[in-house]
């Protein structure tokens, strides 16, 4: 049963990823990315990471895809279908295949973990996040604040600000 779910989710994840890098329509690419990200949330559920699955659907499926589609809408140009791939795509395919094969071979070669997945309790996750990882947590909030302010300043039209 677990293998069955894993194979279905893996097909959706890799298929969505391939759709993102192959399709010539940029809106379809965003929708393929959504398929891939939601399938990854399913993979987190197989791994008993319920909180991460929730966060994945909320942030990736909700926020990031919306932002990407807004960017596509605001930069809609007739050139999108013609600029999908550049001339070095065979080189890129070779490099990507090399990285994938090397990484996969390294993982297969280092295959000595035969434990079964287990689920940490929600309370343990929260305790660890707010005690051991408290300072990185605060830094992450600062990073988000700086990114927000930076995005507003960069994207503002500028006539009224100078």
């Amino acid at each position: 049963m677990s293998w069955f779910l894993f194979i279905i989710l893996a097909v959706f994840t890799l298929g969505g990823g391939l759709g993102v890098v192959v399709t010539r329509n940029v809106v379809h690419a965003a929708l393929f990315l959504l398929v891939s990200l939601v399938a990854v949330a399913g993979l987190y559920l197989i791994l008993f990471a319920e909180f991460l699955a929730l966060v994945q659907v909320l942030i990736y499926g909700g926020a990031i895809i919306i932002v990407l589609i807004f960017a596509i809408m605001l930069t809609r140009t007739a050139e999108y279908p013609y600029i999908s791939d550049n001339k070095q795509w065979p080189l890129a395919a070779v490099a990507a295949a090399a990285v994938g094969v090397v990484l996969g071979a390294a993982f297969l070669d280092n295959n000595h973990s035969q434990t079964t997945p287990n689920s940490p309790a929600f309370a343990d996750l929260a305790n660890s996040l707010f005690t051991t990882w408290a300072i990185p947590f605060e830094v992450a909030s600062l990073v988000l604040l700086v990114a927000l302010i930076g995005a507003i300043i960069i994207a503002r039209t500028g006539e009224d600000s100078r």
Binding site: F6, L33, L47, L52, T77, G100, T115, L125, I154
Partner: protein, 106 residues
């Protein structure tokens, strides 16, 4: 039960797809999408490793999940900033083709 190595090979494949996208695409928006694919591959790897830990080693079995939360946070910040930069680029140059954005190329 699905072994850990299956998730690791899946994440390697997804990461390779993301690398292909970053290198072969010319639209800046599509490059950002490919970066998201690579970040997701890393997250799959982290969470798979985290949930296969037994909690007796140096890392508790939810530390991988916490690092994945931080990666998702940084990815959200990255997309926000990246889209702002792409909008600015489009307004100034009327293109999102990264081959034509060569102002800083010597």
């Amino acid at each position: 039960m699905v072994p850990l190595v299956a998730f690791q090979v899946l994440s390697a494949a997804l990461f390779a797809i993301g690398i292909y996208g970053v290198m072969a695409r010319r639209s800046a928006v599509l490059i950002v999408m490919s970066i998201e694919l690579m970040l997701n591959a890393v997250n799959i790897n982290l969470i798979a490793a985290a949930s296969h830990l037994d909690g007796t080693g140096r890392w508790a079995n939810f530390d991988g999940q916490i690092i994945a939360i931080f990666i998702i946070t940084v990815a959200a910040a990255e997309v926000g900033l990246g889209m702002a930069i792409i909008l600015r680029m489009y307004r100034n140059r009327s293109t999102v083709n990264v081959d034509e954005i060569n102002l800083m190329k010597w």
